[in-house]
Amino acid sequence: MRLIPFLARRRGGKGWHWTDIVTWVWLAAGLVVIFGPALWLLLSSFKTPAQLAEFPLSILPYASQTALVETKGGPKQLPLFTVDLPEGGTAVMAELNRIGIMANMVRPEAPDQVLKVNIDARKPLREMAFATENYTKPLKEFDFGRYLWNSVFVTVAATLITLITNSMAAFALSKYEFRGRNSVMLIIVATLMIPLSVNLVPLYSVVSWLGLLNNLWGVILPTVATPTGVFMLRQYMLTILDELLEAARMDKASEWQIYWRIVLPLTAPALAVLAIFSVVWRWNDFLWPLIVLSRKELFTLQIGLNTFAGKLNVQWQFILAMTVVSIIPVLIVFIFLQRFTTAGIAGTGLK
């Protein structure tokens, strides 16, 4: 048993200190508390409604095994059980029917010999099974396919428009001298201070005046003017040397060409960060779409999930599965993001 000394060995040959124990307990607890719920969601999403309702819980998704049995009324799929036989030993038997606490059971290979069994003397025979219909059914039969599409549309359109408008504004604010430039910058910083929750009523009335209520564009447009984005891009563009632009002007490049072919490519890292954030923000948006969209066919995934979960007869198996679906894009971003933004987020104080 060299395992424990090996695990306990530390770099530098020093012994354990209480801070090491605290560190590992904290990290282990963090892992459980953070990924535990997410993992539980994933496992639960593959369970059948019957299994979701049972208590005590089982960790993995199971389903009852069934067998095709020749009954008097023709062949039937019947659930299988392990039965403690009265003469001792056990046997795998299928249940024909159940009356009170007694069940009529038969051996699948000999369907004529019916045995009465107390239900306490048997255990359901189960195997691991993934209830994939939790995923396929809402996407096909309910509106979740539609919601998914709406979410993708809003996210992609809002992100593209955000990148274009914000980079243009940032370009103007960093590379041109014009009167009132500083006051414009001040206004933008000031708008950083006013969160959506404060501006709900007026924003709603502006959108309704534009006729964009119950329209996906009503969700997209108010979100594209992200002061954070303009601010971040401007700070980045300030680092681009003006001489570069001057050289391009000498070569008779138009201002549009300068923006499109010089400034934008040089801002690519900042644009990538903004794009990632925009995707996560728009995909996860809740309060604003909740207010603007009241027609069911326009719901985004988040609103659809909330509405579905708020119904009287909550169908958890579908909610759990669709929640998993809604995490997938964020998970992709998460893996992609790992590389280069963890330092960046902390630096800009974004979000």
């Binding site: 990290l27 953070i34 719920p37 969160p195 929750s197 979960a309």
Partner: protein, 286 residues
Amino acid sequence: MLVFTLFVIVPLGINIAYSTTGGTDLFLPARSYVGGDNFGRLLSCADHLTPATCRDDLFWVAVWNTVRFVLLQVVVLVIVAMATALILNSKIRARGFWRAVFFFPVLLSPVVVGLIWKWIFQRQGLLNYVLFQFGADPVNWLNDRAWAFFASVGVSVWAHVGFYALILLAGLQAIPRDIYEAAELDRTSPARVFRRITLPLLWPNLLVVIVLALIRAVQVFDEVYVLTGGGPGTSTMYLTQYIYETGFASVLRNPGVASAASLLMGGVLVVLTLVQLGLTRWRDRK
């Protein structure tokens, strides 16, 4: 710029216009001027500490719920974020991995966060099952006033702690290593190192984090709304939900009162944000 004016500046003006007009009509010209009536309705109270004595009792229920929430959530959040940042900053293996683990919930949508936890808090959910394994009685987490409040605090800490831990971690990494090496040579105890070196040098960052957490906690809405819907009763109804329901969701919607309430909340937020901007400047100068 047009978009900015349209969606940020103009709304602020309209907000004020709404807050001084009455009626249920959303069309602004059709609304009658009522002056400070909306504010009066919100603010008039025999005793501000007991919402039942107020003209708009729901508003004050929301205010005091929010105050309780903010106080508890920010304290817990900052302590947990601080501990996490300190541990991530110590000599551990695979730091990038652990950093990612704690950051993961930040990317999840509030709806997802709310639903994941709602599922765990179910009467026959995972949490009660764990209790059951230890022989404890099941708790009706989201149907009990006190537990629902603590659940809303816990869930929002869970969802946001990674973000603040990351900011604090960046602050910790900016502290020069040689100070710690000197302390190690002097055999200073870890607690003393923390109190005399880490805390003073991290203080500017910590202040920014506290104010940022305050600003966001005041606006708490989505994940709690999905988790509890504000209930049971009104025990987890916070200010943003009050504004949303007064302005949009209830049958007797009243945009004027919602506007007035949002302006009051906005005032608090602007003060907090100015404090934050000042602190950020101060930090960056240091």
